[in-house]
């Protein structure tokens, strides 16, 4: 396994921060979007990558965060930062709810993928037809610049905040690779029965994993709502985000610290490139995503991170040991 050191992670985050300050306009917006997807993918990676429970419905968490952010601010006048914290907590709660039901019944593999998809769809339909969530019209957030409102006239500051969350995601993954809890996750991914026989409380470990996973992806949803100032059910709970979170993590390298971040940057970068080259033919960028997913499962099942390693672009030896 490539296990980057904390110092390496810090350098990467600082480098991205420096790049952020050189950007403006469309590139800046793209990078903010990349960070939001990277964060959602980091959430997916905890459950799908480390614990081996592929979810097709991370939109449920993303939407929970996005709607918490939008509803709390517009309906109850809650401060943006407080709404952000509540949104993240709600993501963990939704994770615990779905996890409690699914893991009690011992669902895994394709069954787990299907049930997460169904939960996300139920959430989408409910949000789309309830007045409380703005119905099909969605919710428009008020534009107010300033640190207390978590909105900035200079969008580079928003990018820094998104980057801060991605850094938290990196640290969480790093911690997983160095903690007993992370070892439990990998153990149950590789062989659940063996892990159980050796005394791992499989249910509790899975519950913790899905709660952390839900919280991270919900944070991405909160940032999305705050960045675009508009959400509706098809954006917040739509299958696009479940798919992009999964794609970024798998293409980058599922079950690795840097995989989701690299995957999000590469995928969305290629997506923009395709959009530019195909002169706006609809669907071309997603088609490229699909091709990349199939190719990466076929030829590089461990993702770009491992592909780089096997191509010799490996980190210095001491880093791999750390």
């Amino acid at each position: 396994m490539t296990r980057p050191r904390l110092a390496t992670l810090a350098i990467i985050v600082v480098a991205l921060g420096v790049i952020a300050f050189a950007l403006s306009g469309a590139l800046l917006n793209l990078m903010i979007f990349m960070m939001i997807i990277a964060l959602a993918a980091q959430g997916w990676n905890i459950l799908g990558g480390y614990a081996g429970l592929s979810s097709f419905g991370h939109a449920a968490f993303f939407g929970a965060g996005a709607y918490a952010m939008a509803v709390l601010q517009t309906r109850f006048g809650v401060n943006a930062w407080v709404a952000l914290v509540i949104g993240i907590a709600l993501g963990a709660l939704v994770g615990a709810f779905i996890g409690f039901l699914s893991f009690r019944s011992g669902l895994k593999g394709s069954y787990f993928a299907l049930i997460t998809l169904a939960f996300a769809e139920v959430a989408r339909i409910v949000a789309n037809s309830t007045n409380f969530t703005g119905g099909a019209a969605g919710i428009l957030l008020k534009l107010q610049n300033g640190l207390p409102y978590l909105q900035f006239a200079d969008r580079r500051y928003f990018l820094l905040i998104a980057l801060g969350f991605v850094a938290i995601g990196l640290v969480v993954s790093w911690w997983l690779e160095h903690s007993r809890f992370g070892a439990y996750l990998v153990a149950l991914r590789e062989n659940e029965q063996a892990a159980q026989a050796l005394g791992v409380d499989v249910f509790a470990v899975k519950m913790k994993a899905i709660a952390i996973s839900g919280a991270l992806t919900a944070a991405a949803g909160c940032l999305y709502a705050q960045n675009y100032l508009f959400i509706d059910a098809n954006v917040a709970f739509g299958s696009w985000i479940s798919i992009e979170a999964l794609f970024a993590a798998i293409v980058g390298g599922s079950g690795t610290v840097l995989g989701p971040l690299i995957g999000a940057i590469v995928l969305l970068g290629l997506g923009e490139l395709t959009k530019g080259l195909s002169h706006g033919i609809p669907g071309m960028d997603l088609m490229v995503f699909g091709v990349i997913l199939v190719l990466s499962v076929a030829f590089s099942p461990n993702g770009l991170v491992m592909l780089m390693k096997s191509l010799g672009l490996r980190a210095p030896a001491k880093e791999r040991e750390a």
């Binding site: 299907l114 049930i115 769809e121 088609m287 997913l293 499962v297």
Partner: protein, 290 residues
């Protein structure tokens, strides 16, 4: 509030739409039963078949039911090639790999159709679309009555193929005992691809039955895919009678919940059945105990 006639007609129409759902689910459950994979590209492949039927009817003036005879072999070949040369090799036989490859395929297909046909919804005008069948006091939609009949016939045909032909016996052998089947000389990749191909041909039939009363757009299949999964899970993954009965049941539930809850919330009934079945009895009504 509702007159009994409206309720009975709605439920019967639901039952017959359920038959077409069952046909879509039939291919899915067959593929699951033999290959033990969840084919996520099933919905996208249905869309492909529907576009083929649309092309045949709108461009060449063909009868939609007659078009099935042309679309089915094409879908059969497409299914064979996809499984034999893409899904099989790319997934390295891993459960998760297959899930992801078929998901990737569905996204490729959906967006290729989007690039080629844009997101407009397309319909065909045929004499069948608005024809009704009178049974006593009840008025039933003609395309759905045909759909019901053809589904039953297709299920019987499939059952005959599986039980009376050599390839059917090989398919059942592989489903039961893969290693044993390959030891007696059955080519497992070929049987896998044949099963996938038969599943795709079922989609061609479903597409021909749907088009006279439905529309197609690149996203149409996605709307059916969760319904089909619900039916497969409800009926028991891999069970053919389960798919048929599950399909009819889901059709009735959808009709009833649309009638009483309205169209947008009506779909929730299906998803709740799906979630409850997975949680309470993941083997479904007819599935073998895991």
């Amino acid at each position: 509030m509702y007159s009994p006639q409206i309720v009975v007609e709605a439920l019967l129409n639901g039952l017959m739409l359920g038959a077409i759902y069952a046909l879509i689910a039939l291919g899915l459950t067959l593929i699951y039963g033999v290959l033990h994979i969840v084919n996520f590209a099933h919905g996208a492949l249905l869309t492909v078949a529907m576009f083929m039927v649309w092309l045949a009817c709108a461009q060449y003036g063909m009868d939609p039911y007659l078009a099935i005879l042309f679309v089915a072999p094409v879908m059969f070949a497409l299914g064979y090639v996809l499984q034999r040369f893409i899904i099989g090799p790319a997934s390295h036989g891993k459960d998760n790999g297959i899930l992801l490859v078929t998901l990737g395929l569905s996204i490729i297909i959906e967006n290729a159709l989007l690039a080629a046909f844009q997101s407009d919804t397309r319909t065909i005008t045929s004499d069948y679309s608005f024809r009704v069948v009178e049974i006593g006091p009840l008025l039933l939609s003609f395309p759905r009555v045909v759909g019901f009949g053809v589904t039953i016939a297709t299920t019987l045909l499939l059952w005959l193929v599986l039980h009376q032909t050599d390839i059917g016996k090989a398919i059942r052998a592989v489903a039961k005992e893969k290693l044993g089947a390959s030891l007696v000389g059955i080519s497992v990749p070929h049987v896998y691809a044949m099963t996938f191909a038969i599943g795709c041909a079922c989609l061609a039939v479903a597409a021909g039955l749907l088009m006279p009363s439905f529309y197609v757009s690149p996203k149409t299949g996605a709307a059916f895919v969760l319904v089909a999964f619900t039916i497969v899970v409800l009926g028991g993954m891999g069970s053919i009678p389960g798919a048929l009965i599950g399909g009819l049941l889901i059709g009735v539930v959808e009709a009833a919940s649309s009638l009483f809850l309205g169209d947008s919330l009506g779909q929730i009934g299906i998803f709740l059945i799906f979630i409850v079945t997975l949680l309470v009895r993941p083997t479904g009504l007819f599935g073998a105990r895991a």
